[in-house]
Subunit: 506 residues, 2 copies
């Protein structure tokens, strides 16, 4: 059953149920989805981690429809029209046809980039084709497919965050960017800041492509057992929250209890329940002997105030109590104690903190980050400008046409015309017209992941996808000229039919 | 089955699975959730529409756990610890106890405001209690319960948007704020901008509390069939998208086909596929005769450029073609044609457009709005500062203590101490200490919605909740002194134990 028990037959925008009456008669429609810009419109670094199609296909696209789904749709659509008008139309006959003749499988072909493929903006992440009598259904799934904006955006944000961590380790840590500590330095704190359980799974898995640390257990579970054959993907540590610190007569008592339970391992304590400065200057020294006696690793967690100040205050306090060791790069590492900043963290505060601790001579080893809403919720479809657009039609009379949206009022919104293929050119995924003969089928990064029915063996396990991100991200240039000459020429021809040529293809 | 097939036993932040070892021995814990601020920190209008607990209780909190859920949790937790340390702890014995002894129902009591209750910031929207051996589980559900931030925030944004529409109608429309047109003026275009299907259901239902228009069919279906006994809740109209307009040889042909299919009713056409100005100045006049012959209502939809300019351009073009009629307030209404702006819409652009059309003498009747990501995705837990905090403990020795978080580094983050009750004072929901004797049980707006098991008859149907929002929102003062004197006194006492008194309670 789908979330909320809603039938699959209504999982689109209302207007899409009416489009079957609005298209010209045709034998074939092709549409595709792309991110038109890099993260937060960054023009200097347009890289992104394409991710999330597997979830959509396995949980939605490949679910067979039943006559009951159609009956539920009908009872809904007949009351969905604005008052005073006729019934809301929907393609009932086409739905019935594929339920009866195609085992209920939605009658389209879907191509997608392999999960985790690193691309620059404007490379299609999927392409969908419908033919013959099912042609009018080509765009019915657009609403669901468009949701790929989310995992791809989170995966990109998380990977960019890793860039910040790696750079910080490169400058200040003995281990450098390859330090095993890097992978645990950004913890997903975003579960409660999500809108729903399903979001937490999708976004949380996207983060786990670049880091191993996550408190979003829904995602860690899903990634491990549904995507990775049971092999662990995400981990965490015992940690207090305010309810723990405030439930004891003193914060020192709460910390001592933590040490009793977890003192030989790694554990974290939130420090600002009453007076952060005092907790660092008085409570921490008061439990230092017990901490040292146990030997484990204590992580101090600020949770209010200016994030950079909060981290520096904790480092200074911890160093005062536990001392520090100078590493080969001249930066200081505090033994057995560090800080995690999980309040107010986004890409820019991470960078600020990394710079600030470096300026005070602290190694990156001392600090971790927790990102909550900033990681899983404070992104949207505009963050990387995702859209799906129709690109090719074969009309009923056999005449074919490449299609291109080209609004004069926003030339950045022009779409790519014609059926598309993606091939690496000097390692850079580059967009070609599929009909140019330049992309052999085995070179096309757009792989068929569904074809009138679910296909076997199209998905890699999570470990493989992770490895792909790790190897492709750093190899990809930050920005690239990734529209092939032949595609640019096609854009020019389309523009000549209608009006001006956008700057991008001059 | 839950989304993604994840077991209910891992639906919390990792650290919460470890908290049972971190609390002092106790007989009772009480925690509560509140929004500390109004929408976007608005101090002049702190009203909000409390909404969404029903979804959480019906889909998660009230689901019985099984031994299989625990076994799945165990196989996960045993691998979830950061490498090099011991197994990740979780309260297995307590889980097993309530599976065996309480039919698998999570052993807490949950109180919540009636769905749709309008409150000012700082009123608890829920309170949770755990007692005796189950006391350490009190905060396990916090992650799920905290997700109430989302439907409440969207419901509030949507209701505030209705304020903008009503004000615009009051100034310029014959029907005034009570016009039957008001309820359809903001259409939910947010489905594809959501992160997940589940989000679209939750957020889309929140919008339907204040408006009847929605293209998010997942929510319209859920609200109708799961929350309202099958009675219709949300409606829409046939409308084109770019794929429709670009699939025909000309935009005029696409519009004529719309008129052939829907010309006697209401229908919308997107107008910027190639050249918005030209579509208004040339295409629209070319299909005007056919439009008039059919008689229905044509809605023009811009989709790029400056939103205010785009609306004004469409109104001027439509008036040139179809004329206008002056209403009793002196504003012009275009017969049979209007505009919907669905690109770049948020509260502030709605207000700007409403002002701009008024300045040009157009009545509000001519314009509708579509809000997509702005409505369902561009909000987060910080938008109204939601948090859950522990407020009361009875320790193992019988000693009771009110608990209050009071970080010096952010005095706005202080929590409310003690068990809480909510009673209307001059119509304003006001927070009292439950032990002050000031709130009789039947006056307490915090109603028990779950008590060691699901309860019958605790939820109102959607029509009732809608009516509650409609009547309570306008009756509630925009800002209110809603902490009772006795609660302020309790805060003062708590503060005296620790340090300073926050400004709010001086």
């Amino acid at each position: 059953m789908l979330p909320g028990g809603v039938p699959i037959s209504v999982l689109t925008d209302s207007y899409k149920a009416t489009h079957y009456l609005q298209y010209p008669k045709a034998r074939k429609f092709v549409a595709y989805g792309e991110f038109r810009q890099g993260y937060n419109k960054d023009k200097a670094d347009t890289r992104m981690v394409s991710y999330g199609m597997r979830y959509l296909v396995e949980n939605y696209i490949s679910k067979p429809w039943t006559m009951e789904d159609i009956a539920m749709a009908e009872s809904f659509y007949k009351t969905h029209m604005s008052p005073g008008y006729t019934e809301f139309p929907f393609p009932k006959a086409l739905f019935e046809k594929f339920v009866l003749e195609n085992n209920g499988f939605f009658p389209v072909k879907l191509e997608a980039l392999p999960e985790g493929t690193c691309i620059n903006a404007r490379v299609p992440v999927y392409q969908i084709t419908a033919t013959e009598e099912y042609t009018p259904l080509c765009t019915f799934l657009e609403t669901l497919l468009t949701m790929i904006w989310y995992p791809t955006t989170v995966a990109t944000l998380s990977r960019r965050s890793r860039d910040v961590v790696e750079a910080s380790f490169a400058r200040t840590s003995d281990g450098g960017p390859a330090s095993p500590l890097v992978q645990s330095r950004l913890v997903d704190f975003g579960f409660r800041g999500c809108t729903s359980l399903e979001q937490s799974i999708i976004g949380g898995c996207a983060h786990l492509l670049s880091f191993t640390s996550s408190d979003t257990m829904s995602a860690a579970f899903y990634a491990q057992f549904k995507l990775n054959g049971g092999r662990p993907v995400g981990c965490s540590i015992p940690a207090t929250e305010h309810s723990v610190m405030t439930s004891w007569p003193t914060e020192a008592a709460a910390m001592e209890n933590m040490m009793d339970n977890f003192g030989t391992g790694i554990y974290a304590c939130v420090m600002d329940s009453y007076d952060y400065a005092k907790a660092l200057s008085e409570v921490l020294p008061s439990v230092a002997a017990k901490k040292l006696g146990k030997g484990g690793y204590l992580v101090l967690r600020p949770d209010s105030g200016d994030p950079t100040d909060a981290v520096l205050m904790a480092l200074r306090a911890a160093e005062k109590v536990f001392g520090s060791v100078r590493n080969s790069k001249g930066f200081r590492v505090i033994p057995g104690c560090g800080v995690i900043q999980g309040d107010g963290i986004d890409l820019s505060t991470m960078e600020k903190i990394a710079q600030a601790i470096e300026a005070e001579g602290y190694a990156a080893d001392n600090v971790s980050y927790g990102m909550g809403g900033g990681l899983l919720q404070k992104v949207n479809r505009d963050t990387m400008s995702f859209a799906t657009k129709l690109c090719h039609i074969v009309y009923a009379d056999g005449h074919a046409a490449d299609i291109m949206k080209q609004p004069q009022t926003d030339t950045g919104k022009f779409s790519l015309p014609g059926v598309l293929a993606v091939k690496r050119v000097n390692g850079v995924p580059t967009v070609f017209p599929a009909d140019s003969g330049e992309v052999a089928p085995h070179d096309n990064l757009l792989r068929v992941v569904y074809d009138m029915r679910p296909l076997e063996g199209v998905w890699d396990d999570f470990d493989t996808v992770r490895a792909r991100v790790a190897s492709e991200w750093t190899a990809l240039p930050k920005a690239a000229d990734n529209l092939s000459a032949s595609l640019r020429e096609k854009v020019r021809q389309q523009m000549a039919l209608r009006g001006k040529v956008p700057a991008l293809v001059h």
